[in-house]
Symmetry: C2
Subunit: 320 residues, 2 copies
């Protein structure tokens, strides 16, 4: 069954729920929203293209989830509460089945965070998905990249490198992105690639505590480089402390796992800096809202990201 | 000269100006904005794809202008003041010259309306441009589609059909979108296609006066259909009153011009309804902020859009 653009929009609109602060939703020239008093609006935009940001054969429900996840992750990294957003969808053909499956993944994550789709556009073209997501954060409490101070600790949530590891296995033909596998090692990595969890609750818990934060989307060293540059500080990473999952080490060995963790993107964990004085309280802050936090380094005066105890390929040296 | 994604973003970022209500602009995980108290946020999203929404050979400065114009036009139709927005840019290759020319057109219009680019994404792919634009409108003063009342007048700004006429001439090989022509008839139509003017000032002037409004993007009858459906009314259009430009009539004849005006999109004039009691004051309201307004019809009880005095092709009858 093929759908005209209008029917396609209707099909997506039918899945969009209301919210008290939505004065007017999809269907007019623009949506009307009532922002919270005393808050800043946080706005981020990310595009995923088929074959570039995900394997072309990825199932539509997984594409839907990930399209929104990468955007909510940016809101998490700002300490913002997700609110609303738009979706620009370019599709080679308008298939009802594809749209419904895409919406299953997209709205499963949207609904979990009370995030509402309030506008967008569908066009005919190669598969491409652009979301602009809005969140809200109380005045002065946003987690920016430019607040890291010499003496701060460097923390990361969860484990790193899993998504990049899954992509390696996929490239080798050892992982099928289109179906569940009974091998728990492979399945763990597959889920980490296809269904990343934006660390929204952790971002909220870190308001007023973290001095700087980013989400790990480009790779740990690259993303820490953004903090170092924006904050005008040096960051030292103790690579022996980088949290690696058992499945990743099992699949790629210790060296391969570490390489994925340092350079692979797409994990969407939060990496942040915080004063040393908060070292003991961060555990209780994050309990129940986040996977374990790991202390992986320290901030000092200077510039750049420095990896101690790592003799990786020379290509990485521009980070040190 | 080819640019990496980062350099490309930098090149665009360098053109983005600040504004007092931008707490944090491009460069963090999200931008931070301070919305106006007592206002709603108006949000719209539109995508333009090369070869679908504009001829593939269109010059980058014209693409830049139009990409933003179609979005600002939606804000105009809501009576919203333009504020900020994001741009998702998909490009086959990153050429510095192309980007600079695109930015020339895009920011010429942005700067004219104090609209600021505060985020976005660039990816490699077929040329596609998605903007999400935000505006602000005082509580209760937005121009919606659902407020038309039986007895209201129907008005339109400027002239209609010019963009569709230009497209017809282009399809016949009689108009070159890539260069200025000394023929004033052709050049007028070419400008109307490539450089539409969002009627922002008119939208602001109509706050509190218009009962419903849309921008003419899909074609007059289709867009009036949106008002009729949303407001649950009938709209009668007197086709002898439709404002047609001299160049359009000269290029396509009276019948061809009228057909473009009724069914052609892309003019981005405002079409609105207003109480009859405002008939004399609308002229002074709009003076200096808009091309002339023309009274083209009336709202009554019932459904649908009805064209009197028009015996066009049967294909149009689903509107009546």
């Amino acid at each position: 069954m093929s759908l005209a653009e209008f029917a396609l929009i209707e099909r997506i609109r039918a899945r969009s729920k209301g919210r008290d602060d939505i004065v007017l939703g999809i269907g007019d020239d623009a949506a009307l929203l009532q922002p919270l008093a005393g808050h800043w609006l946080a706005v981020t935009a990310d595009t995923l293209n088929s074959g570039v940001h995900f394997p072309a054969e990825t199932r539509p429900a997984d594409i839907g989830w990930k399209t929104l996840a990468v955007n909510l992750s940016d809101l998490a990294a700002m300490g913002a509460t997700p609110a609303w957003g738009t979706l620009a969808l370019s599709l080679p053909s308008a298939e009802a089945e594809w749209i419904d499956a895409f919406a299953d993944g997209f709205f499963a994550l949207a609904d979990a965070h009370d995030w509402r789709l309030i506008g967008g556009d569908t066009t005919r073209g190669p598969l491409s998905l652009s979301v602009t997501a809005f969140g809200q954060v109380p005045h002065g409490q946003a987690l920016r990249r430019d607040g890291a101070q010499a003496g701060d600790d460097v923390w990361v949530s969860g484990t790193l490198g899993d998504a990049a590891g899954a992509l390696q296995l996929w490239k080798r033909g050892e992982l099928d992105v289109t179906r569940i596998t009974p091998d728990p090692t492979i399945e763990f990595l597959r889920q980490r690639l296809l269904r990343p969890t934006p660390r929204i609750a952790l971002g909220l818990a870190l308001r007023g505590s973290a001095s700087a934060a980013v989400d790990v989307s480009d790779g740990l060293l690259a993303d820490l480089g953004h903090i170092a540059e924006s904050s005008d500080v040096a960051v030292r990473v103790d690579v022996t402390q980088i949290p690696l999952s058992v499945p990743l080490r099992r699949a790629l060995g210790d060296d391969g796992a570490l390489r994925c963790a340092l350079h692979g993107g797409d994990d969407y964990e939060l990496c942040f800096t915080a004063p040393r004085s908060l070292r003991t309280t961060l555990g209780s802050l994050s309990r129940g809202v986040s996977p374990p936090l790991t202390l992986i380094g320290a901030v000092s005066t200077g510039t750049g990201v420095h990896c101690e105890g790592y003799s990786g390929p020379r290509g990485y040296e521009h980070f040190s």
